[in-house]
């Protein structure tokens, strides 16, 4: 199954080597004797250089765990993570450290992710110091350059995080992530803690930086509107599995998985006319426990078109190609748009 996914992804852009290749990654957390939380359960995907790939899903779907495994902040239970062709799950110590330079992370909470006792200059310079890349006056110059890059006053380097607002702190976190000239940045809910008017500033900044420094992003968020805006492709996760991967243009018009369609139907649009025509796809029950996920298709317990008893409860649908660059894991993907109405 994994091979078909990788092959399918390769078919989309055969000429370019992926910058990140995630192969059948699994994360189980121990939960007492014999039990385990299957947080991420066999996920594979590629990210090409310069691409922004969005990862969206509800709380507990495993999206942040996946991000943390890619950065090796969490060890994988099994599977491989290739960064620029090197499997970083097999690296340790200095080798891992050197390879990981190419990969940085931006965190959700701009208050918790900056050390309150360090100056902004020291926070941004810390990666440079860690890798003994630069020191003295050159370091200060680099810090000021980075501050200017993220739209902050370069002379703020001696200030402390508490002197900045949430949006400005997120800029500091971005400057720190840029310090080592990484190729891939994992953005884990980078704007969800920010106010609406500040979110746009940060989204625009991330887009500008991508263009300027040829960055590749994995953009993890629960807000499908934000994810779709910034991403070239969007991956939808449900209960530890990727259920759909679609080019962002296609996502709003054609969904191949019932969960994606339900998710889309729940998103309020700031337009009362559209809102009055929107029809919510009501999902029955609650998200099942990842301790004991449902058999077959994990979504079958809540799916409006599942055939139960039948194939949906018995056979796990593979994530397979449904259209140009469009993958979904559903036995009845051709019925998703005809049988599930999202407008009245």
């Amino acid at each position: 199954m994994t091979d078909t996914v990788v092959a399918a992804a390769a078919r989309v852009a055969p000429a370019v080597e992926p910058l990140l290749r995630v192969v059948n990654v699994v994360k189980y957390f121990g939960a007492g004797v014999g039990a385990s939380v299957k947080a991420v359960d066999g996920v594979s995907f590629d990210i090409l250089p310069g691409e922004t790939v969005g990862l969206v899903g509800e709380s507990g779907c495993g999206k942040s765990t996946l991000g943390r495994m890619i950065t090796q902040l969490l060890p994988v239970t099994s599977g491989e993570v290739y960064l620029d062709g090197v499997d970083i799950t097999k690296l340790h110590g200095e080798k891992l450290r050197q390879q990981r330079k190419q990969l940085q992370m931006i965190f959700q909470d701009p208050y918790a992710s900056l050390d309150p006792r360090m100056t902004v200059g020291d926070i941004i310079a810390e990666p440079l110091v860690n890798f003994k890349m630069i020191s003295g006056r050159a370091k200060d110059a680099r810090v000021q350059e980075l501050l200017r890059t993220v739209g902050l006053n370069p002379y703020f380097n001696n200030r402390y995080p508490h002197e900045f607002s949430g949006g400005q702190r997120q800029r500091i976190g971005i400057a720190r992530a840029l310090a080592l000239n990484p190729r891939l940045i994992i953005c884990d809910e980078p704007v969800s803690a920010l106010d609406v008017s500040i979110q746009a500033q940060i989204i625009n900044l991330l887009e500008d930086l991508q263009r300027e420094f040829a960055l590749t992003y994995l953009f993890i968020a629960h807000d499908l509107s934000v994810v779709r805006h910034i991403s070239d492709r969007v991956m939808v996760m449900y209960l530890g599995k990727i259920v759909e991967v679609a080019p962002s243009e296609d996502l709003y018009t054609s969904q191949e998985h019932p969960y994606t369609r339900a998710l889309l139907s729940s998103i309020p649009v700031p337009d009362p006319r559209i809102e009055s025509k929107r029809r919510l796809v009501e999902l029955s029950g609650e998200i099942p426990s990842p301790l004991n996920p449902p058999s077959g298709c994990r979504f079958h317990t809540r799916c409006p078109i599942a055939q139960v008893p039948g194939v949906c409860a018995d056979v796990e649908p593979p994530l397979e190609l449904k259209g140009a660059g469009h993958l979904a894991a559903c036995h009845f993907s051709e019925q998703v748009r005809t049988k599930i109405a999202i407008t009245v």
């Binding site: 509800e58 709380s59 200017r148 739209g151 902050l152 006053n153 370069p154 703020f156 607002s165 949006g167 400005q168 106010d195 609406v196 008017s197 500040i198 979110q199 746009a200 500033q201 989204i203 625009n204 887009e207 629960h222 807000d223 499908l224 509107s225 934000v226 779709r228 805006h229 910034i230 962002s248 243009e249 709003y252 339900a262 998710l263 889309l264 139907s265 729940s266 998103i267 309020p268 649009v269 700031p270 337009d271 009362p272 006319r273 559209i274 809102e275 929107r278 919510l280 009501e282 999902l283 609650e286």
Partner: protein, 367 residues
């Protein structure tokens, strides 16, 4: 015309902190008709929650309502004793909060807490309370209500807890339900269910709803009329159609263009609002939005614009208004949203926000 059930006139609430007087709400006036759904939108610190807390008499020290009237069914809530207010709160006006877990007592059964709200007010006959508790839980669509009513809050999911809070709020058949960010802590599919529930309950029970949120989409789906707050003041008021389709205040207009929409075609750039909301201790002179407004004119720096009618049922507090910004400043095609960008007004010596590099300050002074 029916009489409004709630009429807030010139409400001001300040917080007296060690750093100074935080003028959180200043001169806010609005009314709510029976059965109406009113949305109050704005960002954190705009005063939307403090306004609701003031209505319910829940503002705590160092905060204080320093002026205004809150008329509820002909009585000024600010003139009532604590006891009289307690008789209205939870009975005629109910409130639900953002975080349903911290609003529920973890050691008491959900059913007990719903019943308690009814016993406290004696509006529902005592013999009916238990039966009504189960009916309420059914009404808010908790499945297997007879069994679940005996559960403790930790046995409920986030969405079910919020349903239980709504059941509690509705228990005494209130005339007005104030919902402060009721779906912000919930996942998007659960949020949609809660909003649908509120919409149905509004139709079935006729209770008016004030929905306080930062999410413009949520307001568009539920509310017929909308207030937009910025820095402690109402900057615009109108029907949902007016606010979303023909906003007249540059803040409302900018806010709508700064959020990515799921139905938008990709590739367009978001119009961000530069800078930060003002410090409520040290407010700017004139219009409070002028330090961030692309359409500001000279007058905006010195005189605070009053809220005036701009269309039938629509009011805005702006010297320019978007109608003029479209006609004279090319608002329809702007890409630069920095302060004064569309109007070209950068008064000499005015410091630009910190995000600008020093070179830009030099240019602005040169103007």
């Amino acid at each position: 015309m029916t009489d409004p059930i709630l009429e807030v006139r010139n409400l001001s609430t300040h917080f007296f902190t060690d750093d100074g007087e935080v003028k959180a709400v200043r001169g806010v006036s609005f009314s709510v008709e029976p059965g109406e759904t009113l949305g109050i939108v704005g960002e954190s610190g705009c005063g939307k929650s403090v306004t609701a807390m003031s209505v319910l008499g829940l503002v705590q020290r160092p905060g204080k309502v320093v002026g205004g009237e809150i008329m509820f069914k002909g009585r000024d809530l600010l003139k009532l004793t604590k006891e009289e207010l307690r008789n209205i709160r939870g009975r005629d006006i109910a409130m639900i909060f953002q975080d349903p877990l911290s609003s529920l007592n973890p050691v008491l059964r959900v059913g007990y807490q719903i019943d308690e709200a009814m016993y406290a007010h004696d509006k529902i006959p005592r013999s009916d309370v238990e039966r009504r508790g189960i009916d309420l839980l059914k009404q808010v669509r908790v499945s297997d209500a007879e069994r679940r009513i005996k559960d403790f809050p930790h046995q409920f999911s986030g969405g079910m807890r919020q349903r239980a809070m709504i059941a509690m709020g509705l228990s005494n058949k209130p005339d007005l339900l104030i919902a402060d960010e009721p779906t912000t802590a919930l996942d998007v599919t659960v949020q949609a269910q809660i909003l649908e529930l509120l919409r149905d309950l509004n139709e079935q029970t006729g209770a008016a709803i004030i929905l306080i949120t930062h999410n413009l989409g949520v307001v568009a789906g539920l509310c017929k009329r909308v207030l937009v707050m910025y820095a402690g003041e109402i900057v615009e008021e109108g029907t949902a159609e007016q606010i979303f389709e023909r906003p007249q205040h540059p803040y409302t207009w900018s806010l709508l263009r700064s959020v990515p929409r799921i139905d938008a075609s990709r590739g367009h750039r978001l119009l961000s609002i530069e800078g930060l909301p003002p410090d409520l201790i040290d407010l700017p002179q004139g219009c409070k939005f002028n330090p961030r407004c692309p359409f500001r004119v000279e007058r905006c720096f010195t005189e605070s614009p009053p809220i005036e009618q701009v269309a039938p049922a629509q009011h805005a507090a702006c010297w320019v208004t978007m109608e003029r910004a479209y006609a004279e400043m090319g608002a329809g095609t702007i890409t630069d949203t920095s302060p004064g960008a569309a109007s070209g007004v950068h008064p000499a010596g005015r410091r630009l926000p910190a995000v600008e590099v020093p070179a830009a300050i030099g240019e602005a002074v040169g103007d």
